[in-house]
Amino acid sequence: MNAIEQQLWEYIDGTLDEAANKAIEEKIASDPEIKAQYEDLLKLNSVLGTLDLDEPSMSFIRNVMESVAAEPAPVALKTKVNSGIIYAIGAFFVLSLLGILGYVFYHAKAGFASFTLPEKFNINLDRYITPTTLYTFLFVDLVIGLIFLDQFLRRKVHK
């Protein structure tokens, strides 16, 4: 294929830059041979635009749907990740940390021979652990528990 034909195709496809576009337009306008070539390509291009697509058999959609019916329903990849794997990874790290802590405590020498709390940190905890504090604590726990239960049930219904 000659260079001018390639340029003409690029002109028809609209992939030329502005300068090249102008140059080819001038060539088409000044050279009758190039103009004739351009018109031929333009006709071929318009015929190609009317290309017909082939039609598969009438039962095509039914066949596809029958094949996919045997497959599990597709789900978005982000929800496809098995939560069991996440929990297993979490459990592995928790157990590893507990193991390390256990090892450290087993080999450490217990005792606070020369340790005394500074005056300002000497807090009397008995003053704060009252029935009211305990009830408040349990009430907050109950609310958090209910929120989690609600989310869990909603997820089940959604599935």
Binding site: M1, Q6, K43, L44, T50, L51, V64, V68, E71, K80
Partner: protein, 193 residues
Amino acid sequence: MEQKLTDLELIQNILAGETAQYALLVKRHQRFVFTLALRFSKNREDAEEIAQDCFVKAYKALGAFKQTSKFSTWLYTITYTTAMTFLRKKRLDTDSIHNEETFLQLENHTSNFNANDYEKHDSHTFLNQAIGLLMPDDAAIITLFYKGEQSLEEIGETLNMEPNTIKVKLHRARQRLKEKLQYLLKDEVKELL
């Protein structure tokens, strides 16, 4: 009046559990996928098998579709790889689709077509006939460009080639198509074009 859902909306519905809506996606793209498969297989039965396999693969992988590009581009990539795998399975030498010998073979295979039959056919028949004589890659590029509403970049993505390579291949494919039309129609080509 019911509004026509876009491909992405249909996909979201399917992923949310409305799997029957996949039939709408198949209906929308079946003709193009089948035509593309036919460009490679040159045989309706094989093309139907490839197209069906392609839609099943697309269904299974729908969750992995990133939804950042066009669904059609993603689907045509699956069609291309499915067709290649199918041809390999049929023990056809896929490398040979790029060489001129196969091209000539295909040409001989269908060249018993008589130009005198021109009157019985319309321009589309001849055009499809000429495309059938092209190498599969050329035929696929022309189909993707003119009927798939695909840009050079998207065709490159589908066929795993650089956009510039696609641009050159498209020019050559059109040139070869012109030659095929001239071969089929001889003097009548002027009437068609």
